[in-house]
């Protein structure tokens, strides 16, 4: 029963690490859903990114190349989803679920022989001067580069959706694909690009788990992070900065409940573990189902 054994600085620092894979994957899915496509295959793309990134890192010795390979792996798998849903007009929910199952199987196959191998270390960036500032320094400025990539991605997506012409077009496609089509925008091309972006981000998120957070390869290691990312997109009502808050909430609660347990504080962990989900439901109720993009999950064909 003593709070003193919990170091709040370390707690906040590890919160940022715990939230990063979810931020990366959810940011990609946010763009996909804003383009009007519901891809439930995030988990499958994450785990595929985790193994392709791991293989590339072990082979080349460079985590940077590993992350690039993870993005390519995730995007490659998402292209399968894109082809099935955009050209063959298959049901997005069913295809997405199948993609998750396929990704889990594929990654286990690719990962044969990579169990128990250690990845080269991904060095942390210690920003001189700033990281020496007490309290804020260790929290904000002593992480590996991917934490900042995640934050930058959120800022970039926010700017893209709000201020750029391309972002406006993407939103138009997501809100009403027939109107966008009538205006002459190539709905399918835009959606395929969005799906690939989502796949690449999910791949990065997966690779963050296999290269930084754990870091090693084990079958099925993402263990549901993709589903949490999907929930966070809804929680954030499809807005980038709220997504960041949602991811920190999930990450924070995960780390906090472990800390409380280790400090021997008798708060039933079940309540803490369920709190982010309750928050999601509350947000959904308060905002009356949020503002989902108008064409989300609907099949588009130019003839109709």
């Amino acid at each position: 029963m003593d709070f003193s054994s919990i170091n709040p600085i370390l707690l906040l620092a590890s919160l940022m690490v715990a939230a990063t894979p979810i931020i990366l994957a959810a940011a990609g899915e946010l763009i996909v859903e804003r383009a009007g496509v519901l891809n439930l295959g995030v988990e499958g793309m994450m785990i595929t990114g985790a193994i392709t990134g791991f293989i590339a890192t072990v082979t080349t010795g460079s985590p940077w190349i590993g992350f690039a390979a993870a993005a390519v792996g995730g995007a490659g798998l998402s292209l399968l989803f894109g082809f099935l849903t955009q050209f063959l007009l298959s049901n997005q929910v069913a295809t997405g679920l199948a993609l998750t199952l396929f990704g889990l199987g594929l990654s286990a196959l690719l990962g044969q022989g990579y169990n128990g191998i250690k990845a080269p270390e991904f060095p942390k960036i210690d920003i001189p001067v700033i990281s020496d500032i007490p309290v804020l320094g260790p929290i904000l400025c002593s992480h590996d580069p991917m934490v900042y990539v995640g934050l930058g991605l959120i800022a970039g997506i926010w700017y893209f959706l709000k201020y750029s012409r391309a972002g406006l077009v993407l939103r138009a496609v997501g809100e009403n694909h027939e109107a966008a089509h009538a205006l002459g925008y190539h709905v399918i091309r835009i959606r395929i690009l969005a799906i690939m972006f989502g796949g690449a981000c999910a791949g990065l998120g997966g690779a963050y788990i296999s290269l930084v957070r754990v870091p090693q390869w084990t079958d099925g290691m993402t263990a549901g992070a993709g589903w949490i990312a999907l929930a966070i997109v809804v929680f954030a009502s499809w807005r980038p900065w709220r997504l960041l808050i949602g991811a920190y909430l999930f990450g924070g609660v995960t780390v906090l409940q472990l800390n409380l347990q280790a400090a021997g504080i008798a708060i039933p962990v079940e309540y803490l573990a369920m709190s982010p989900y309750i928050a999601t439901i509350l947000v959904l109720v308060l905002m009356s189902a949020g503002r989902a993009p108008g064409s989300l999950g609907k099949i588009f064909h130019a003839s109709r």
């Binding site: 889990l104 084990t218 573990a273």
Partner: protein, 360 residues
């Protein structure tokens, strides 16, 4: 020898079948395995799968094995088992505690199929239970951990608050306290058997809070990796040797060896001698192995740990020997008294000295 005669009889049966003679054993015996994690987890499921491979190696063409990985504990497990039984399995091993009720439910529907449930305590005419006395290995771990720790804080990553895990915590604690009266345990419940990211987080939290030895009762090698990154933290392999992390941080391990049991039980089904039994074997009969104690452990500690292991194996010493009190201070075992298997099987309390409550 045994294997050769078996193969020969299998060949004989095949010849008889080809000649069109009536033969009893020409059909393959089908053995199913239900796994809670992936076979590549490097721990619990990995070792069960090694047992499956041993069955294939022992009987060759006379058996066919099927398995399902990552089966959640709950209703879905029932579906998987039903499917295996419908698919013609003669014997099904369900390898996690949470499959207990699904196993009994499905077994009631298929009285001719034999079931073997790992680590449970409920049996039926066609359901056996089997488990290993992991707490014997935990005693050795506790002994080493108590000697190694400098901060006197030992972290323990628990999976679910079930008797098997609580036995392990108690056994490790008793033997750590024996060699180091100042030692205290920090226990974190992960509420999962397998989630590398969560296990890594739990290990990091324990290390941040000053633990320099981390014991785990979860299945992946993620805590080993976290300890390695920290540098000066000791760990133990769980369920499998996890030797790739030796000599540091992994200084020893508990290895589950299911192969002899799986081969024996499959043989019993083939011979028609299978009956419902309750098996609980330990170090002595080889179901629990203690992995090589690495050079990171001082030689005298290694020697005393091996002596402890051998005395448990020979039956000279029982890890739960009194005097022992329960956590609330009430008496449990008198001086020299040994815990009986019934109490151990349903153990639901901590021994004196462990802080914190067991979550319900």
């Amino acid at each position: 020898m045994k294997r050769r005669t078996l193969l020969a009889s299998g060949a004989g049966a095949a010849t008889m079948a080809m000649l069109g003679l009536p033969a009893r054993a020409q059909e393959k015996t089908k053995v199913g395995f239900v796994f809670v994690g992936p076979i590549g987890d490097g721990g619990w499921t990995f070792e069960h799968n090694n047992g499956r491979l041993a069955v294939e190696a022992a009987f060759g063409d006379a058996v066919e094995t099927v398995y399902a990985e990552n089966v959640p504990e709950g209703p879905d497990a029932e579906r998987v088992m039903t499917q295996m039984a419908l698919g013609g399995a003669d014997l099904i091993f369900t390898t996690s505690f949470g499959y207990m009720e699904p196993t009994l439910n499905v077994a009631a529907k298929f009285p001719n199929v034999k079931f073997e449930h790992a680590t449970g305590y409920m049996r039926a005419d066609n359901v056996s239970t089997y488990s290993a006395r992991f707490y014997e290995g935990r005693a050795v771990q506790g002994h080493i951990a108590g000697n190694l720790t400098k901060s006197n804080k030992i972290g323990y990553i628990g999976s679910f608050p079930i008797p098997e895990v609580i036995r392990g915590i108690n056994s490790a604690f008793i033997h750590a306290r024996k060699v180091n009266p100042d030692v205290e345990f920090k226990i974190v419940w992960a509420f999962t058997w397998f989630d590398p990211a969560k296990e890594a987080d739990a290990a990091k939290v324990l290390i941040e809070q000053g633990c320099d030895v981390v014991l785990q009762h979860t299945d992946s090698t993620a805590p080993q990796a976290a300890a390695q990154a920290a540098g000066n933290v000791y760990t133990f392999g769980q369920a499998s040797d996890m030797g790739e992390y030796a000599p540091m941080p992994r200084v020893s391990s508990i290895i589950d060896n299911w192969a002899p049991y799986y081969v024996e039980r499959t043989k019993a089904v083939m011979d028609g001698t299978w009956t419902s039994v309750d098996t609980w074997d330990g170090i002595g009969r080889g179901m629990v192995g203690i992995g090589e104690i690495s050079d990171a452990v001082p030689a005298d500690v290694k020697a005393s740990a091996e002596a402890l292991r051998d005395s448990i194996a020979s039956g000279a010493y029982h890890p739960f020997t009194g005097p022992l009190n329960k956590q609330d201070g009430s008496a449990w075992l008198a001086d020299g008294e040994v815990a009986d298997d019934g109490t151990l099987a349903g153990l639901g309390f901590y021994v004196e000295g462990i802080e914190g409550d067991i979550p319900s």
